[in-house]
């Protein structure tokens, strides 16, 4: 049993622990690589990186399978990776290549893999809330056992769509878990300015659902609260709201001048690195051996290198792709 920062205890099999570490590491390495490739001008457009928030996506996704759905945000890489989307295809997508998860037509803010239950990153803040309700409705209507997890930011909590989505999920008792990733800022605007409530999780009461705040850096704590919410949803008891409070290591988008936070804040927050904390904890309590973790690090490094090579060496879409897939049946 592993103690969580909330004071609870979770039991996680060794295999699953390794999976958790691997996914968190893969996310971190992916984002670090993207940051570099972006700075080097290899990746066009703009990217919103998930580094620092790995424990949220992974702690939740540890409870999901391919029959479960998630909806995501503009900061979606971590959700994709935790849900099992191929990092090769993701990287190729960021490069705008035909081999990308979206054939190069979506880019960072739209990576999706419906087959894996990943219903898309989303360029519209709060845009995923209603989609998650819809996926939950499908599950319930077709009598399936799956759940849908809806990730949204603290900034998104102020969008009307999230209000409507939470109310709908509640009155229809849908198997939806709402996860507010409160990384303290919406772009440069602090959540203490934009939100009128002490904890975003307190808003759960407005929809008659359980709400809980959890530290975003402690994957065990996230795992613990996610377990409760996911089980509740699977039992047909309706939605929950989890607020995971943490920190993004990079700027809002890569390249942002970061003037809205101080070096001291940054240092304080970075001290809560979910990966470092995980390592320390599992080593200290001898749940995993250092070798095993190092081996994961090596594998991840290889995966990222491979993904980058794959992306670099892939071809751009053919001109004809411009007019394909506007509709199903004809261009």
């Amino acid at each position: 049993m592993i103690k969580t920062e909330r004071g609870g205890r979770v039991e996680i099999q060794r295999e699953r622990l390794l999976w958790i570490y691997e996914r968190m590491k893969l996310i971190r390495s992916f984002e670090d690589a993207v940051a570099e490739l972006f700075a080097a001008g290899r990746i066009p457009g703009f990217v919103h990186l998930y580094a620092g928030e790995e424990a949220i996506g992974v702690g939740i996704m540890a409870h999901l399978g391919d029959d479960d759905y998630i909806t995501s945000t503009h900061r979606g890489h971590g959700h994709c990776i935790a849900k099992g989307v191929s990092v090769r295809e993701m990287m190729a997508e960021l490069f705008g290549k035909a081999t990308g998860s979206n054939k190069g037509k979506g880019g960072s803010m739209h990576i999706a893999d419906v087959g894996k239950g990943m219903l898309g990153a989303n360029g519209i803040v709060g845009g995923g809330g209603p989609l998650a309700v819809g996926a939950g409705l499908t599950l319930k209507t077709l009598g399936k056992k799956g759940v849908t997890v809806c990730f949204f930011g603290d900034g998104a909590a102020e969008q009307g769509t999230m209000h409507e989505a939470m109310n709908l999920a509640s009155i229809w008792k849908l198997p939806v878990v709402f996860v507010c990733e409160n990384n303290l800022f919406a772009e440069s605007t602090p959540w203490t300015y934009h939100a009128s409530v002490k904890n975003i999780a307190d808003r759960a009461a407005a929809y008659d659902m359980p709400g809980v705040v959890v530290p975003a850096h402690d994957v065990f704590a996230v795992y613990e609260v996610a377990n409760e919410a996911v089980q509740r949803a699977r039992r047909g008891e309706g939605p929950s709201l989890i607020e995971a409070r943490g920190f993004r290591f990079y700027g809002h988008f890569q390249g942002d001048p970061l003037t809205y936070r101080t070096p001291e804040d940054e240092a304080r927050w970075r001290a809560h690195d979910p990966l470092t904390l995980f390592r320390a904890r599992v080593l200290d309590q001898e749940f995993l051996a250092e070798d095993a973790l190092d081996e994961v690090d090596r594998q991840v490094a290889t995966m990222i290198a491979e993904a980058t090579n794959f992306a670099e060496s892939s071809a751009y879409p053919a001109d004809a792709a411009l007019l394909e897939d506007v509709y199903v049946s004809y261009p």
Binding site: L119, G127, P130, V133
Partner: protein
């Protein structure tokens, strides 16, 4: 194929029933579409439930139950977005946006999510959903309940847009819209609901993207949309009698994708074009069709094309003003006569 004389409203109800029977993944959702069916005292006598504000979905909840006919809160972004999410994961939702005027509270889910998922995902998603919505002035419903604005949806890549003008078309096109694998916006003119017409019994589907020549004529092509079709036909009959003018009335039925060939061929035959659209004129479907013909068949045009539309103004409440606002058969007739002026000596 046997037909029955039923109303436009019943024809839509028919199509919904037909498709819900055929495919268990078709669901209907919207404000009051099951109309209080959740209330205890209605249990067992669900014929008393509303069936939408104008009764179009009446009786569906009786046959299909509340799991497939869902009342929604007044949360259009929420439930229309839910329709998108449901469509992407295995259902075929038919969501009702009560009046098209309300698109402003939910357009993001329609055009940024529903319409774009497939393209942005590289073809790896389908969103087979329909949004049914009421359009049209003439109901004394004033500035926020009388718009048409199909132009806004026709503008958007990824959406299909359908405006039926007869009960039979309403049935056949709605069935096609439900079977279609793309998001379709289906516009129902509220003043057509009580109009009766012959509608084929049993399964009936009209492919999207096919215009219908509602009346053949040699002198002038009138392309009319929705409720403007019966008005154009009335004007045509009158002009045939009074001036011997042969008006061809083309009903595009589907605005996106547009059956351009049928329109262009008609103009190539008649050499004259009038477009009748009760929407506001700027960036309208009327302008779109005139631009199409001017770009593709300029050399066939003997006269400058004419648009008969609402003015660039909000729909006024006062009946006297609203009657001026909406194109009438008289106005359509007048414009056609003017266009034919030198031929018929007016």
């Amino acid at each position: 194929m046997t037909t029955r004389q039923i109303t436009f409203r019943e024809a839509i109800n028919d199509a919904l029933r037909q498709e819900m029977r055929r495919d268990p993944t078709v669901i209907v959702m919207g404000e009051d579409v099951a109309g209080g069916a959740s209330l205890e005292h209605i249990e067992g006598r669900q014929e008393e439930a509303w069936g939408g504000v104008l009764g179009v979905t009446k009786g569906l909840v009786q046959e299909f139950g509340r799991a497939r006919v869902l009342d929604t809160p007044i949360s259009e972004s929420g439930y229309i977005g839910a329709a998108v999410g449901a469509a992407a994961t295995g259902l075929r939702p038919v969501a009702e946006l009560m009046f098209v005027d309300f698109f402003g509270v939910c357009m993001d889910q329609i055009y940024n999510q529903g319409a774009k998922l497939r393209y942005m995902f590289g073809g790896k998603a389908t969103v087979p959903m329909v949004v049914r919505t009421m359009i049209g002035a003439g109901f004394r419903a004033a500035g926020q309940h009388s718009g048409s604005h199909y132009s806004v949806f026709t503008h958007m890549p990824g959406l299909k847009t359908v405006v039926p003008s007869t009960p039979a078309d309403a049935k056949g096109l709605l069935a096609a819209a439900i079977r279609d694998n793309d998001p379709v916006i289906f516009f129902e003119h509220k003043l057509l609901y009580d109009v009766e017409g012959p509608v084929p019994d049993g399964e009936y589907v009209i492919p999207l993207g096919q215009a219908d020549v509602k009346r053949v004529g040699d002198d002038v092509t009138v392309v009319a949309i929705g409720r403007m079709v019966p008005l154009a036909l009335a004007a045509a009959e009158d002009l045939a009698k009074t001036h011997g003018i042969g008006v061809e009335v083309v009903d595009p039925r589907t605005l996106s994708p547009l059956d351009a060939p049928t329109i262009l061929n008609s103009v190539r035959k008649t050499h004259r074009l009038v477009v009748v659209d009760e929407d506001n004129p700027r960036c309208s479907v009327a302008a779109d069709l005139v631009a199409l013909v001017a770009s593709e068949a300029l050399e066939y045009l003997d006269e400058a094309p004419k648009m008969v539309t609402a003015p660039h103004a909000v729909v006024p409440f006062s009946p006297v003003l609203e009657d001026l606002y909406v194109p009438s058969a008289e106005r359509i007739g007048h414009v056609i006569r003017t266009l034919m002026g030198h031929e018929i000596g007016v």
